[in-house]
Symmetry: C2
Subunit: 330 residues, 2 copies
Amino acid sequence: RYFQFCKLPGRIMGIRLLRFTSVVIIVLLLVAGALTALLPTIKDDKMPILKRESKPQSQSALDSFTLIMQTYNRTDLLLKLLNHYQAIPHLHKVIVVWNNIGEKTPEEMWTSLGPHPVPVVFKVQTVNRMRNRLQNFPELETKAVLMMDDDTLVSAHDLAFAFSVWQQFPEHIVGFVPRKHISTPSGVYSYGSFELQNPGFGNGDQYSMVLIGAAFFHSGYLEDFQRQPEAVYALIDETQNCDDIAMNFLVAKHTGKSSGVFVKPVDIRNLEKDTNSGYSGMWHRAEHLLQRSYCVNKLVNIYDGMPLKYSNIMISQFGFPNYANHKTKM
Amino acid sequence: RYFQFCKLPGRIMGIRLLRFTSVVIIVLLLVAGALTALLPTIKDDKMPILKRESKPQSQSALDSFTLIMQTYNRTDLLLKLLNHYQAIPHLHKVIVVWNNIGEKTPEEMWTSLGPHPVPVVFKVQTVNRMRNRLQNFPELETKAVLMMDDDTLVSAHDLAFAFSVWQQFPEHIVGFVPRKHISTPSGVYSYGSFELQNPGFGNGDQYSMVLIGAAFFHSGYLEDFQRQPEAVYALIDETQNCDDIAMNFLVAKHTGKSSGVFVKPVDIRNLEKDTNSGYSGMWHRAEHLLQRSYCVNKLVNIYDGMPLKYSNIMISQFGFPNYANHKTKM
């Protein structure tokens, strides 16, 4: 009898226990919620970096870079450049994008003349496309990409310094060739270089793009490039041009800042005249510049706005090449 | 009887309740702890900025700067400089730190020759101290401080560009005069300029300080300076020197990065020879440089470490002063 009786307080305690538990759980949820709200929101301009982090990376992959070089019809130059770039500090790997469709790569010869300090991977393509070099290559293990045209030579010293600059501006395109857009009264944009000036823009000059034919940028941007509107790919394939302008749009949209940081090169050379193929680059075509202005305006339509921002910052190395290059000669 | 008897299960439940509660509380603390650990730690290099935000600021106070100029025994130069700086774009106010103890300021004459576009405030000091200029002046309403020595003239154009650079690097000292420390094998540090070289540091040069005698920095750092160890103030007063070195230590500790960003000046001049007082600056004293090395080592002891970091970045304006200064002459 008293057992039944005595169950009562037990039940009461049970209910109290239940109430108490639920109250505590609610408090727990509130605290958790409040604190979670305080967590840092992922900044856009950090995104590519985070993305890369997801791939496991060797230490060397973190403080080194991958050279991506697309080549077409200039194998002699390619080999000359491959030899040059073997001696670059912090170079982790070379990816050669082989756009000579149906032609054999010089891999065999290259290997036979080894050993080489830095591994070279030949990526044979099935179509000769400008944007082949903008794939997210599985062989790419570093955060930093150095993209070079196959007719351009930049000194080891310039590359080492520019890489150290990129490490301080990882969300920007850090390179040696600045370009700009200007908007005309008609609202149509023009593309150009130093010869093109913004009317009434006072002293000095500005740039709004840094070309990826001689630049460092974050490998995360190659992933982002795979997720662009079809119209962007169509534009690049139709013109066989402007992939570098598209990358500047992508980066500017991503960061909300100017896409590029210009590093003044001490020694940059165009080796085109040295090729035996006699092949001269796309940029010699009469329509080249017109196409690029056309692309800027097209991209503004596709992205529904002009993301490019101007910068007038030029970075050089303190005390190099002249010991006192920081002293102003007047 | 059964009451006594029946208290038992109650007590048992009580104990259970107690146990359960304590368990839940522990869980609560653990979760809270875990989530708190995930909270963003206030980045030091943001602190001064946050601090400033607390003061209400006019829009103009946000995109303009305050010139702080300390003067001693060079009133003729002071007036020349005040006239020059009146024409600087984005200048919000001038604060003159009047170290001529017991002397009347030229305020009356200055006002009589008005109107002047930019307000000038004379802060009469009671003791002639180097660090008077590092007070957190109530008249200071802008985030950006331009600090200038009273014998140095920097062109309006250099100042406008450097200010735009500071706006992109607000946690750094952005200025025109780089200096460095080097550590000797004995572990003792030396202070110097380009003549001083790190043994075996390869190509180019480095700096680890940017002097505040011709530089922009965040006004929050003036607040931080008020909270330094007494030994720092004693060192500065004893030497009447090194306040600028101390500021570089403060900023480097604050950011964990190099304290300064060096902007290559196009036109910077020392006007000392132009003064009628014949007074020549402290830095002419034989012991000046020795004192500064002494200060570096003292500050390392006071702060229990060497916070200064090296940089080799030199910033110039793209396309200025020469239209194509980005083109490498070879």
